[in-house]
């Protein structure tokens, strides 16, 4: 049986979770944030975790070791209730990894990024542990990313 492809739709630009990256050209599309963008938009009810956070911007950094232009870090805008987290992945490991191994590394980095919410003093509660658990649940399906992106 041939699996039915996901019906195409245009993802709203205004949403709660944004996933991007700074990725050396040799590692794209191996490092691909698109499945994260669609899957998290479809399956995570961000508002259910509380009002402490309105937007979560996550960035994968996979640049060559000598590149100092892109650094991991964290920035919280209290006014916008927006948290930006950038996490670096080891270039050489990603370079030599298979597609599946790469996604496992991306998943771990994303979960580590969620963990950082707990280190930020938010103006109101936000249950980052529940958020992390729900995302981890998605990742339990090892093929979650395969058909995550709707085809045009």
């Amino acid at each position: 049986m041939i699996a039915k492809k996901k019906e195409f739709y245009i993802i709203p630009t205004e949403r709660h979770i944004y996933v991007s990256g700074r990725v050396w050209h040799e590692l794209y599309p191996k490092v691909d944030p698109s499945p994260f963008i669609y899957k998290l938009y479809e399956e995570i009810d961000f508002e259910s975790y509380g009002e402490g956070l309105s937007k979560f911007y996550f960035t994968f950094i996979v640049t060559q070791p000598q590149n100092k232009l892109h650094q991991p870090g964290r920035y919280f805008s209290r006014k916008k209730r927006a948290l930006e987290v950038a996490i670096r992945l080891p270039y050489e490991e990603v370079y030599h990894a298979s597609e599946e191994e790469t996604f496992r590394m991306l998943e771990a980095a994303f979960l580590a990024g969620i963990e950082q919410i707990g280190e930020v003093k938010l103006p109101e509660p936000f249950d980052f542990e529940a958020f992390k658990a729900d995302v981890a649940k998605i990742f339990e399906d090892k093929d979650w990313y395969v058909d995550a992106v709707p085809e045009v």
């Binding site: 245009i10 944004y18 794209y28 669609y38 590149n67 709707p150």
Partner: protein, 142 residues
């Protein structure tokens, strides 16, 4: 021997009467030279199949549909500008920053220019009804 001239901020007079750069200004010079030597040319790629702003479209068309992986813009970043994209704001949502070349600022500008001018010959640009002269996110040729 001390001179009778006034010395502007950032300059210091040595006990021998010579005018030199202050330690801070010398460090600033070295930092700025290093920034010129450490630059990268990048491409911003669509991470969602969606409409993106178009600055190079004809007839007042303001947006263009890009598929995942298609080019929105070429650019250059140098050291010291790492904080220029807060909240992943690259000029439009849902873009991936992909460094393509590392070198001096001059080398990176050359790469950027080559890629902008060669954009119309990319398969993705040729497949559209209108062939753009520049990527949608590049308002100008540099």
């Amino acid at each position: 021997m001390s001179s009778s001239k006034k010395v502007a901020p950032g300059l210091v007079e040595t006990p021998e009467g010579e005018i030199t750069l202050s330690t801070e200004r010398q460090a600033k010079l070295e930092r700025e030279l290093e920034e010129i030597d450490n630059a990268e040319q990048y491409v911003l790629l669509a991470t969602a199949s969606a409409y993106y702003p178009c600055y190079s479209c004809p007839d007042g068309q303001k947006s263009i549909f890009l598929q995942i992986g298609e080019v929105w813009r070429y650019g250059v970043t140098r050291k010291g500008e790492r904080g220029r994209y807060p909240n992943q704001d690259y000029g439009a949502p849902d873009l991936l920053y992909v460094p393509q070349f590392e070198g001096t600022l001059g080398e990176c500008f050359k790469q950027e220019k080559l890629k902008i001018y060669r954009y119309p010959f990319l398969p993705e640009a040729q497949l559209r009804n209108i062939i753009l002269a520049r990527p949608p996110g590049n308002k100008y040729d540099s």
